[in-house]
Symmetry: C2
Subunit: 291 residues, 2 copies
């Protein structure tokens, strides 16, 4: 059971960053979490020429934020790395210095045309050379599976390259997610490979603007649900009900299969009501997982 | 809450037909049904050149079977008519003579190339001319909506042409079914038209051969579920669980929307275990509906 946050904006004063960190740790300590994810944000405007519904603002480096401000967080932390942002040497130094309560997830470029300093493949090699004991995860995109049907093969390739767990992008399409889990699980079975844990990411959608942002991010919300969210007097409650239904269904499906899984709650929205409700959602999903 | 059966094969002796009818009525009387559907079967080999997993065998005319053998069935009966099979005059005579406990569903040709004696459009006109008080239903195909996105518009057209209710083909894709319901419901709302009841048809799948037959019939079973059914030690129980889950989900979705709905249980399989289990499924779904 994971919860993910984006480090504070770089524009914040050091005092404000400290304050945000304290509030965050206080809020998270109260949840029954196994770990915290710190996202690494990059400007993805190259991936999508449509206007970004929430503005892109540079954020603090997740590793520095963790080291400097999350000393009170005493559970594992998964630090995302958009590897294309970093020079090989910087990545190498960071990998060499990572501490035992840290895990990482490498994220490839958001588009094929974007110039990168380090490719995903190269970053995976560095991990193998410098710090193979550091648990390395990979991102899984159900929408890519719906389009190309090969996301499970990408997972197997990433596994060969040292990844030991997977974290999905935000999920709203239960059916496509189950298709991916099924293909991955049976591909592992056929190849006599142990399937690695897949963590399903859930995020609430409390307003039409958040729905627009999910769409901008490439998250496919089934048409009936997008309509229901748009028509709802209380989209936050509607999406809470759906996220819980998705979680219950995936839990029962994975347990039937024998597929290792977990959940991650994030808030793609920066609105206070949605962030607070995502804490509540994490509490409910943790309870579901422990049940 | 409906249950549907196919009339006995024409090859049966009159004694055997009588016996089948008695067993059927006895079994159905025990269920909490609002009506019975009698299918009209035609050879659809023109629609699909693949080998039909269960052989096509001519069956008794559903109206004759009802008149001659279902006297003990005291609830409404919905008689399907594959209208292309009938000469205009035969259809006209039947429409003129139908009794008050009868409803009908007109089914169009199974392919665009098949020669028909009466087109669906012409049959609808005959209904309007001869027997407009006879409740007329239409078939709804979620898979067509998934491909072309216009099944809700077809429903509205059929409604203009006298249809007052809809019955789906067998449903296994919950997501696509909800997309269709959503599009139909909001199209009615936009046009200020009262949505008509949509009856969702469920059928169990107790063996790989039945799964093959569902595929032959054009029913899209989500890939993860097709795999689960194939891998299951007890596919009948697996499909029962899924059919119930689909029914619960559609019930709650339609009630949230304010969409009138119902359920129909059929058995696409001719195997005894599957037919008996479908009676049990109807009992459980009736209980769900009355809850």
């Amino acid at each position: 059971m994971l919860f993910s946050i984006t480090p504070p904006k770089r524009a914040n004063s050091p005092e404000r960053v400290k304050e945000i960190a304290e509030i965050t740790v206080g809020r998270l300590a109260d949840l029954d979490l196994d770990g915290l994810i710190l996202y690494d944000i990059e400007d993805e405007s190259d991936r999508n020429s449509d206007k970004r519904p929430f503005p892109y603002l540079p954020t603090l480096d997740p590793a520095s934020f963790h080291t400097d401000h999350l000393g009170d967080w005493d559970k594992p932390t998964i630090i995302y790395r958009c590897v294309g942002k970093y020079a090989e040497n910087d990545l190498r130094t960071w990998l060499a210095g990572s501490s035992p309560d840290i895990l990482t997830v490498f994220v490839g470029s958001s588009s094929g045309t974007k110039p990168v300093q380090t490719s995903l493949r190269r970053a995976q090699q560095l991990h193998h050379e410098v710090s193979p004991a550091l648990p390395l995860g990979a991102v899984v995109i159900g929408e890519r599976h719906a389009r190309h049907g090969d996301e499970h093969l990408r997972m197997l390739t990433k596994q060969e390259r040292g990844c030991t767990f997977f974290i999905s992008q935000v999920i709203y399409d239960l059916n496509e997610t189950k298709n991916l889990v099924s293909d991955y699980f049976y591909a592992c079975k056929d190849a006599d490979i142990t399937p690695r844990p897949l963590i399903f990411t859930l995020s609430l959608c409390g307003s039409p603007k958040t729905l627009e942002f999910l769409d901008w991010l490439g998250v496919e919300v089934p048409p009936w649900l997008a309509t229901e969210l748009r028509e709802s007097d209380d989209p936050l409650e509607t999406s809470r009900r759906e996220c819980l239904a998705i979680a219950r269904d995936l839990k029962s499906y994975c347990e039937r299969l024998g597929m290792p899984y977990g959940f991650n709650v994030e808030s793609v929205s920066i609105r206070k009501a949605e962030i607070e409700a995502s804490t509540e959602l994490a509490r409910e999903i943790a309870a579901l997982l422990r049940a």
